[in-house]
């Protein structure tokens, strides 16, 4: 079950994914109906099972939301607006940001094995 982020716990879990090959799922979306209901445009991106090697990983609090930055061998991975987390099936670190209606806005997930 996704629960509110606890900075210390998430940081400790992040540390276990450093210095090894891992898979990430990174996503952000404002929904496929954003431009249907108002004037905005649909914005979304996802990458699933990108294989990366992280040397540093840090979670930072900003008011009610959190940011996570992962330093990889050749670059960076970044997510903003995270509110919830969960260790899924004992091994995958799921982090996500939701709006007040429970709609997912952003997700960053780490796993040592590919996501299904």
């Amino acid at each position: 079950m996704m629960k509110r982020i606890e900075l210390e716990e998430v940081q400790q879990t992040l540390n276990t994914f450093l210095h090894k090959d891992i898979y990430i799922h990174l996503e952000t979306t404002n929904g496929a109906y954003a431009s249907h209901f108002n004037e905005s445009i649909n914005v979304g991106v996802f990458i699933r099972n990108a294989n990366v090697f992280c040397t540093q990983g840090k979670i930072v609090k900003d008011k009610a939301h959190y940011r996570v930055g992962l330093k990889t061998k050749n670059g960076w991975i970044y997510a903003e607006g995270l509110t919830h987390w969960e260790i899924y099936e004992d091994k995958q670190l799921l982090m996500a940001g939701h709006d007040t209606e429970g709609r997912l806005l952003v997700a960053l997930q780490l796993s040592e094995t590919p996501f299904k």
Binding site: A32, F46, H98, E101, G102, R103, L104, L105, Q109
Partner: protein, 225 residues
């Protein structure tokens, strides 16, 4: 209206059948017409996680599959999953998807197919699967082709396409429609509250739904032009 032999509904997401056609489906089932839903994906990338949040990105497919099975039970229809992935349908090969659907239609032999109207169905998956479904029927032997009802859901559908050929006022079946929508527990409230208008903040979800979803309209696809 002639009595249909078998109706096949082809939409990409668990919940499209309930939001889009639950009233029409209920009417066919009342007439004893078998209805089969070919559901394209499991809505794996859906962003409604329930309110309060009960799903996550990894559990969404299983949860939505269960919700879909419940909705299909309520609607009393058969379900067949096509096995594609949410948000990716438009990047699949259209002919491949069409041949997949065609093989199923040849087995089911429907007299009527209901799907989305390509380019007029808002979500890229709706447009892509509608296109593939229509292509599937076009590839069938002309004598075996079912009628196709295409559903347009853009805000400008009437201006763009003219008046739909079939408009069902589904208010008599609206309790069944609401029950089917609410079987999609993680989706229903998030989507229905998206319909809410600022000037009418005390409307109930049922009122909002009746206003937005009380009519189900379709265009009969013309394979000749």
């Amino acid at each position: 209206m002639n009595k249909e032999k078998h109706v096949v509904v082809i939409y990409p997401h668990p919940d499209d059948e309930s939001f889009g056609a639950a009233g029409t489906i209920t009417q066919f089932r009342k007439q004893g017409v078998p209805v089969t839903y070919l559901c394209g994906t499991l809505g794996e990338m859906g962003r409604n996680m329930g309110n309060p949040i009960i799903a996550n990105r990894e559990t969404v497919p299983e949860i939505r599959k269960k919700e879909l099975i419940n909705a299909c039970k309520l609607l009393d229809i058969d379900l067949h999953l096509l096995g594609y992935r949410d948000k990716t349908l438009e990047f699949e090969d259209v002919t491949e998807v069409a041949l997949h659907i065609k093989s199923l239609l040849e087995k089911l032999q429907p007299s009527l197919v209901i799907t989305h109207y390509p380019d007029h169905a808002v979500h890229p998956d709706h447009n892509a699967l509608g296109r593939a479904a229509i292509e599937a029927v076009r590839l069938m032997d002309e004598n075996l082709r079912p009628t196709v009802w295409a559903q347009a859901i853009t805000n400008t559908a009437y201006e763009d396409l003219g008046k739909p050929d079939i408009v069902y006022d589904v208010e008599p079946y609206f309790d069944q429609k609401m029950a089917a929508i609410q079987a999609h527990k993680t989706q229903a409230s998030g989507i229905l509250s998206g319909f809410k208008r600022k000037d009418k903040s005390n409307e109930s979800l049922r009122e909002i739904a009746l206003e937005r979803l009380g009519k189900e309209a379709f265009y009969i696809w013309d394979f000749k032009s």
